[in-house]
């Protein structure tokens, strides 16, 4: 079904060099309507360059970047997007309401000012000068500026940096509401739980290439390990030699086992040590999968 719609944003074989360094080395990214795509990757992986190409701020050396099937530098394409960049020093003497009004004036059919403020949770800040706000409040204002034009596509570059947990949760809720309206989102983040909570699809970048693409579950499945933790007197060395156990270690009587067949190993653990306590079984999280993926490709002996 999704394939019938033209993609909202697309990078195809995008290559970008800065001096002789390849920031992007043939990247394909496609984003569909109503979808939240998280771009993950360590610093220097090419996340910001990908976003800059899609925003038309820089031109690809090879390949192409498109918004709504158009050149991103065309204003008709940009009238359909909202942007929150990683760092933007906005004019400190302007009041929040004035900034919202200005940014909304760029769009053909913006949201009412009060609605934008409400969505971003800044209704009480409208009269305050931007420079007098805390870092987290400033980020929320920038979020309001991103959504005030009723965009069909939102670019959020590390949106929750500097926010406390409460503000972050509110922003997540706002993002979900926007997606429910049919808005698409490109999100870059350092917080994996953010991608885990929001993203339908995750693209992991490393060294200017796409390392992995898929749903959060698919990404997790790439590291098909489960961690078992318990308090037990069993010898970690011995457990490590059990079939289907990837690794085992013991610290202060706490045994930790990594395995691809948790049910099997748990049964054997309980059988072998009836005094076993505090059993915990946990699927490897996105964080583990991410670490595995972005590590040097030779170090995949764990799986």
């Amino acid at each position: 079904m999704n394939e019938a719609f033209p993609p909202v944003a697309r990078l195809a074989g995008a290559v970008k060099h800065y001096d002789r360094l390849a920031a992007l080395d043939g990247v394909d990214i496609m984003l569909h309507r109503g979808e939240l795509l998280a771009l993950l990757g360590p610093n220097g992986a090419g996340k910001s360059t990908s976003i800059s190409l899609l925003l038309g701020l820089v031109r690809p050396d090879a390949g192409c970047a498109e918004l709504f099937g158009m050149d991103p530098q065309r204003i008709e394409a940009r009238r359909r997007i909202g942007v929150m960049l990683q760092s933007a020093n906005l004019p400190p003497t302007l009041r929040v309401g004035e900034m919202l009004r200005l940014t909304a004036s760029y769009y053909p059919d913006p949201r009412p000012l009060a609605e934008s403020a409400e969505l971003a949770g800044i209704g009480d800040l409208l009269k305050r000068p931007y420079g007098k706000l805390s870092g987290g409040q400033q980020r929320r204002v920038q979020f309001a500026l991103a959504l005030c034009g009723r965009p069909e596509l939102l670019f959020l570059d590390e949106p929750t940096v500097g926010m406390d947990i409460d503000a972050r949760q509110k922003l997540w809720a706002a993002m979900r509401a926007l997606i429910a309206e049919g808005c698409s989102v490109v999100l870059t983040t350092h917080y994996l739980e953010e991608a885990e909570a929001l993203a339908q699809r995750v693209v992991v970048l490393g060294h200017g290439r796409v390392l992995s693409e898929g749903s959060v579950d698919e990404l997790r499945a790439k590291v098909a390990l489960t961690r078992i933790r318990c308090v037990s007197d069993l010898d970690a060395e011995a457990v490590a030699h059990w079939p289907q156990v990837a690794s085992a270690s013991s610290i202060d009587g706490r045994l930790q086992v990594a395995t691809a067949a948790a049910e099997h190993v748990v049964r054997r653990l309980l059988d072998t040590d009836p005094a076993l306590r505090e059993l915990e079984v946990q699927r490897a999280g996105l964080a583990e999968a991410f670490t595995e993926l972005t590590r040097a490709p030779t170090l995949q002996e764990a799986a």
Partner: protein, 264 residues
């Protein structure tokens, strides 16, 4: 295939901008630009204080012994001196800082209509120039008792408001060469010597012959001639000076626009 209905759904929001909304965006941009600088004392105070103080000292207090002609002459010179700084600093420094701080990048990513950013800054500089000339005019009339016809007042204001533009272009060019806090230092290096060398602080006739001869190189010299003519002290034709200033503005605007397009 069911592809018939799909393109309709995909292009429901063909974003057309009504001419009225498009114009509104330009107005909002200019309004915000003016507001933010009028509210920044660190920007407004030096721009108003320096020409005002100089005029008070040299035009009003010390000019008493020289007669009303000195006060009239210095009204023109310090107006030019005062008009240069919103152009150079308002345009150049803010551009350099906004290139550095990411605001320009954000604006380029947003659907801001083309040119609105520069047009907004230009209008801001013109407004501030009018304020500076207005303050000096008030001091001249109130304190130094310079008698000016309404036509002369209007002409001097016009000279200031339009005369700021070549300095906007120069400031913009410097703002594209330097990022962040390097720009104000560089602009001071241009502003102060240029003012001195064009005879804005002391009449050119009091200066060494060489300096008198190279004075026509500076745009501020030509603006000063026009300002003097506005207050009734010019003797040469206005159009060569106007031409030089227009040419100067066009060249630097071109250079700056090219650099902005290439380097952002």
């Amino acid at each position: 295939m069911n592809a018939v209905t799909v393109p309709v759904a995909a292009s429901t929001k063909a974003p057309g901008m009504s001419p009225r909304r498009a114009l509104g965006a330009y107005v909002e941009e200019a309004r915000s630009e003016c507001l933010r600088y009028m509210r920044a004392p660190g920007f407004m105070l030096p721009i108003l204080l320096f020409p005002g103080m100089f005029y008070l000292l040299f035009g009003v207090v010390m000019g008493k012994s020289e007669g009303a002609d000195a006060a009239r002459y210095l009204l023109a010179s310090y107006s030019v001196f005062g008009v240069m700084s919103p152009g150079l600093f308002g345009f150049g420094v803010s551009l350099a800082i906004e290139r550095d701080g990411g605001l320009l990048t954000l604006k380029r990513a947003l659907p801001m209509p083309p040119g609105a950013y520069l047009l907004g800054k230009m209008l801001m500089a013109m407004t501030v120039a009018a304020v500076v000339v207005g303050v000096l005019l008030a001091m001249a009339a109130g304190l130094a008792h310079v008698a000016l016809a309404p036509r002369q007042v209007a002409l001097l204001l016009l000279t200031g408001v339009l005369g700021v533009l070549p300095f906007c272009a120069l400031g913009m060019f410097v703002g594209t060469l330097f990022k962040g806090q390097a720009a104000p230092a560089m602009l001071q290096l241009i502003y102060l010597p240029m003012s001195f060398l064009s005879g804005l602080w002391f009449p050119l006739s009091m200066m060494p012959r060489v300096l008198q001869q190279i004075a026509p190189v500076w745009p501020s010299y030509h603006l000063d001639r026009l300002a003097l003519a506005a207050v009734g002290m010019g003797q040469d034709a206005a159009w060569p000076h106007v031409l030089v200033l227009v040419g100067f503005a066009a060249v630097f605007l071109q250079l700056a626009a090219r650099r902005l397009r290439r380097h952002g």
